[in-house]
């Protein structure tokens, strides 16, 4: 290991520009002649639009245009799509009602865009927006998914009777019912997985620009996957063919999934720029982000676990209602199905599983992938159920898990719900976590807390996730509309520096550092001579972007494959330069050697020869510039154990997280510091979900009540403990780096670990977020029951 190669905690090279204000985000970009776009949004959750009068707004000072849904429809372009078809129990694909780019005759959520005002300044656009007269006929709204699927609920889309999008199942129903009928014990839990607002630090933004000479549209935007945006906007919206559409995602300040999706707003901005032949910029305000970013989670679940008399799991049965909001976002349908129910086996050898999911519409912001996307929901169900079952059965929760783990001799392990785990050692992570938290002395710590008038609890989450999304053929067979490979191009420059083009996209993950370490390791190039390029469809050949903890496992493997091609070609050049046979060339860390001799040449010399080929092997093309595409053979399966320890103040219900141990198996690790940072961030978000964050819509009016930081509680530093992080390692068996993915693990494990600790402390089950009042009431009712 070198100090900048694989395994080194190299400081992030991108942080210098981020911490000195030199990052270049979409809103930092100003195009010549740029006008400002502002969306007039619906104040109603559900209403018919009887008419829109834009006359006065159009005449207002500084207004360039006032564009409505009718204008958009008249131009004949398409609308945002949902790119994953889920086939229900009835054998039919899910119902996908249209999602108008700008509302035409109906609004279905607070925040639906009804007009795009383009003006010389933002203030002028806002002034004009106040002059647009929209005649709304209000309709009853429904925000809760159980309410929406009940009979008599307000009908949101004519195409989706009863607001049902699909009724889907997975697993073996008959075998599962049989297992339950043979069970010695059945543990049942009803759980709500609370809706979350993503809250990336940088709000969404877009600049559309049209060059009428070349007929090319450029869209600068806050995207996690610019090529996918280009594909959707070309193929489904039809604003421009792919060769005439350039999507640039410059520095992006956080995504957490919310910037995967192709939203109507960005499409409208690109359309307006083309229509007006003038650059148009729009940047969401924070309150707009709350209303229109795709939210996360929002499940209601009933889960049952059947066990035998020895505490061995016989079967698992799950029924979930998933809220999609007013419209289907880009990958909405996949999240509560193939990214959720396929993970319900957890780390356990469960003979049979049956899960049913109903997805439906409500008058709320769309729900789609949010850090973890389906896997946190699955882990939450499995791990709360495991904890509850252990308590019911009187078995130590660590022992109960260990008793049911998939053994190290059982890999590859075929679960009853599609996935095939390649490798893992769940006992190793559990053991390490138990040791780190000093589990043996927990009883003593609990007694000490009780003496101080506090209730202490400990909670586990032995999570697994599927990341490194995804084998294209596999996801294609499950309904995905795209392939999920990744591409890379590794280009030597004549003087030996390297430019790497990756189709993955960094919006906080540190790719510029991690990928450079990989290049450094494979090609022996100095760290500072490596440039990582991403986020521009005109520079990077192709890409599927960054989400699902896929960048290293898929994107990094593509880079490694391109490096192999570079080395293979380099051997031919080196052999020629050293007058040796290609088969005699040995390569290691940037040096080509003739086997058994002291003759050698470096990668830099080979690169120079490749571009100044005065003395070059016959039949070999000049240049040293290789591309690779990598389509993974399987998902990767990071797994581990998190243990949370809390103290609850019975007087107020305040939960103090006093310790947190996270032991994760991410396979091989390129940069331990970055990995630890990802774990910290993930846990912080998971704690936010469990303790603080609750997206609340008014059940009657459909208004978003938690629409700002005054009411939506984000986790802050003083809400969090010091995390103690450990690693175990079973290298992934099917990518050459042996890596798995670390971006989402914390958010997947943390909610279950924390809720299990809280319920252990207070002795009763509660839902997230475990607000102080909720905890206090649980303590009160338990105390009253005891009296």
């Amino acid at each position: 290991m070198t100090d900048t190669g694989i395994g080194a905690s190299v400081r992030r090279k991108e942080d210098r520009r981020f911490t000195t204000g030199k990052g270049r985000y979409t809103d930092d970009i100003h195009r010549p002649g740029q006008a400002i776009g502002y969306f007039l949004r619906s104040p109603h959750a559900h209403a018919n639009i009887k008419g829109i009068d834009t006359t006065a707004a159009k005449a207002a000072p500084g207004v360039v245009a006032v564009l409505t849904g009718a204008d958009y429809a008249a131009d004949g372009f398409g609308n945002p799509i949902c790119g994953w078809t889920v086939t229900g129990k009835n054998g039919e694909g899910h119902i996908a009602p249209p999602h108008p780019t700008i509302a035409v005759d109906k609004v279905r959520q607070v925040g639906d865009a009804v007009a795009l005002i383009v003006a010389e300044t933002l203030d002028k656009a806002k002034d004009a927006a106040e002059l647009v007269e929209v005649d709304y006929e209000e309709l009853p709204a429904v925000v809760n998914i159980a309410d929406a699927l009940a009979s008599g609920a307000p009908q949101i889309h004519a195409e989706a009777p009863g607001n049902l999008c699909f009724d889907w199942d997975i697993g073996d129903k008959a075998a599962t019912e049989k297992a339950f009928s043979a069970a010695a014990h059945v543990t049942t839990l009803e759980l709500v997985n609370n809706r979350l607002v993503p809250n990336a630090m940088e709000p969404r933004a877009a600049i559309g620009e049209y060059d009428s000479g070349s007929e090319e549209i450029t869209l600068y935007t806050t995207s996690q996957n610019p090529h996918v945006a280009r594909l959707v906007i070309s193929a489904f919206v039809g604003l421009a063919p792919e060769n005439k559409l350039r999507v640039i995602a410059p520095d992006v300040g956080g995504g957490f999934g919310s910037k995967i999706f192709i939203y109507p707003d960005e499409i409208a901005v690109a359309w307006a720029a083309r229509k007006l032949d003038r650059p148009v910029k729009w940047t969401a305000e924070r309150s707009e982000s709350f209303l229109t970013d795709a939210h996360g989670r929002d499940h209601i679940t009933k889960a049952e676990l059947a066990t035998d008399k020895d505490g061995r799991i016989l079967g698992l049965r799950v029924a979930t209602l998933a809220n999609f909001g007013a419209y289907l976002s880009t990958f909405a349908t996949a999240v509560p199905t193939y990214l959720y129910a396929t993970l319900l086996s957890g780390q356990y050898a469960i003979p049979t599983i049956y899960a049913e999911v109903k997805g439906g519409f409500t008058n709320t912001s769309p729900v789609d992938a949010y850090r973890g996307a389906g896997r946190p929901e699955a882990t939450y169900v499995v791990e709360r159920l495991m904890e509850r079952a252990a308590r019911d059965l009187g078995i130590d929760p660590a022992e109960f898990r260990r008793r049911n783990f998939i053994g190290t001799d059982q890999f590859p392990y075929q679960t009853p719900v599609i996935l095939n785990y390649d490798i893992g050692d769940y006992g190793a992570s559990l053991d390490k976590a138990l040791e780190m938290i000093d589990y043996g002395n927990f009883a003593g710590r609990r007694a000490a807390s009780e003496r101080n008038g506090k209730h202490r609890g400990i909670g586990f989450a032995a999570y697994i996730e599927a990341c490194g999304i995804a084998p294209s053929a596999a996801v294609g067979s499950l309904g995905a509309g795209v392939g999920l490979w990744e591409s890379a191009q590794v280009r030597f420059n004549p003087t030996g520096s390297v430019t790497v083009f990756t189709g993955s996209h960094s919006h906080g993950q540190g790719h510029e550092t991690t990928f450079a370490q990989l290049i450094c390791d494979r090609l022996g190039v100095p760290f500072e001579s490596i440039e990582i390029v991403h986020g521009d469809t005109k520079e990077v050949p192709f890409g599927m972007g960054t989400y699902g903890s896929r960048s290293l496992a898929v994107g990094g493997t593509a880079i490694a494959k391109a490096c192999t091609k570079i080395v293979d070609k380099g051997k031919k050049i080196a052999a020629h330069l050293m007058e040796a046979a290609v088969d005699d060339i040995e390569y290691k860390s940037g040096v080509f050697k003739v086997a058994g001799t002291d003759r050698q040449t470096t990668m830099a010399e080979v690169a120079f020869a490749a571009y100044v080929p005065h003395n070059f092997p016959e039949g070999v093309e000049p240049g040293l510039n290789e591309s690779a595409f990598y389509d993974p053979l399987n998902f990767t399966f990071p797994a581990g154990t998190h243990i949370a320890e809390v103290e609850v103040d019975p007087a107020t219900g305040t939960v103090d997280i006093v310790d947190w141990v996270a032991v994760d198996d991410f396979g091989n690790v390129i940069n331990p510091m970055i990995v630890e940072g990802q774990v910290h961030g993930g846990i912080a978000q998971g704690i936010g979900q469990a303790l603080l964050e609750g997206c609340v819509y008014d059940r009657e009016t459909g208004q978003l009540l938690s629409g700002s930081y005054m009411d939506y509680a984000m986790p802050r530093a003083d809400d969090l403990p010091n995390f103690r992080v450990g690693l175990t390692n079973t290298p992934c068996t099917h990518n050459e780096l042996g890596v798995k993915g670390c971006g989402e693990a914390g958010a997947i494990a943390a909610p279950a670990a924390l809720m299990n600790a809280i319920t252990d402390a207070i002795g009763s089950e509660i839902d997230m977020p475990a607000t102080q009042e909720k905890v206090w009431r649980a303590v009160q009712s338990r105390r009253m029951a005891a009296e």
Partner: protein
């Protein structure tokens, strides 16, 4: 925000002359600027008090701490005089918002705004402070008249607040997890005139609890209020806490404030 005329006077008299019509005073702007940015207010004129030196400063005058209206929360929190005379007041100021808010927000702005969840009104009412304006002096008991309402007249500007130094005082705040305003904040002071208990956050405005004051008069200890029940009637109820929970927290926070005051 909407357009407005901007004035930055150098004296209180100049500032008063600018008032009238739809003019609004700008102190630290921690509530007002977000309100403007969201177009929830449309003043035609803003009179920025930030240029009036005489409005800032902390002085101990006899048995009172006198703090200028434009004194920032951070300055009160960091003041050695305040920490010595009324440590509970320094602690309260140091717990408002976050460092950015404390570096901009002012005592006068907070008091004039009278947000029902703000911290300072509890200190004023709990300590029996008086609000000095360009025209008169108003006792805290008469100053806070309702939610976001005060006894201030149209052409009146708070200049200073006079806090009598108590024998002992304590403040305990249960923060709203999102906004960090007080879900419930209780200020307790033992003064020569008797014990005062002031509550913020729980109701539509800051209020005193006479029954606790009476109970504490003879026995200044947390146990003294065990028999005092706080009714949930009329208390705030929202997604962060029901009226019943707030009523419960009033007692819990009062006990912690008493303990902080050495009781």
């Amino acid at each position: 925000m909407y357009s407005f005329d901007y004035h930055r006077p150098r004296s209180v008299d100049d500032a008063v002359r600018q008032l009238g019509g739809e003019a609004k005073l700008l102190a630290g702007g921690q509530t007002f600027i977000p309100t403007l940015k969201q177009r929830l207010a449309q003043p035609d004129k803003i009179v920025d008090l930030g240029g009036i030196a005489e409005l800032s400063g902390i002085k101990v005058e006899g048995d009172a701490v006198v703090i200028g209206a434009m004194t920032r929360h951070g300055a009160v929190a960091a003041s050695a005089e305040v920490a010595k005379a009324i440590p509970a007041l320094a602690k309260l100021a140091g717990g408002i918002g976050d460092p950015q808010v404390r570096n901009m927000g002012t005592l006068g702005g907070s008091v004039a705004n009278n947000d029902p969840a703000a911290d300072y009104p509890a200190a004023l009412l709990g300590l029996g402070a008086s609000v000095e304006t360009n025209k008169r002096t108003v006792a805290a008991d008469d100053f806070f008249t309702g939610m976001f309402e005060t006894a201030l007249g149209e052409d009146e500007i708070i200049t200073r607040v006079r806090f009598p130094v108590p024998q002992a005082a304590g403040y305990a705040k249960f923060a709203n997890p999102a906004s960090r305003y007080a879900l419930v904040g209780v200020f307790v002071a033992r003064t020569p005139g008797g014990v005062r208990v002031a509550v913020t956050g729980a109701g539509p405005g800051v209020f005193r609890i006479g029954a606790m004051e009476t109970a504490l008069a003879g026995n200044f200890s947390a146990g003294a209020i065990d028999g005092v029940s706080v009714s949930a009637d009329g208390l705030n109820s929202d997604m962060h806490g029901s009226a019943e929970y707030r009523a419960h927290l009033v007692t819990v926070m009062a006990k912690r404030a008493i303990a902080a005051a050495g009781g």
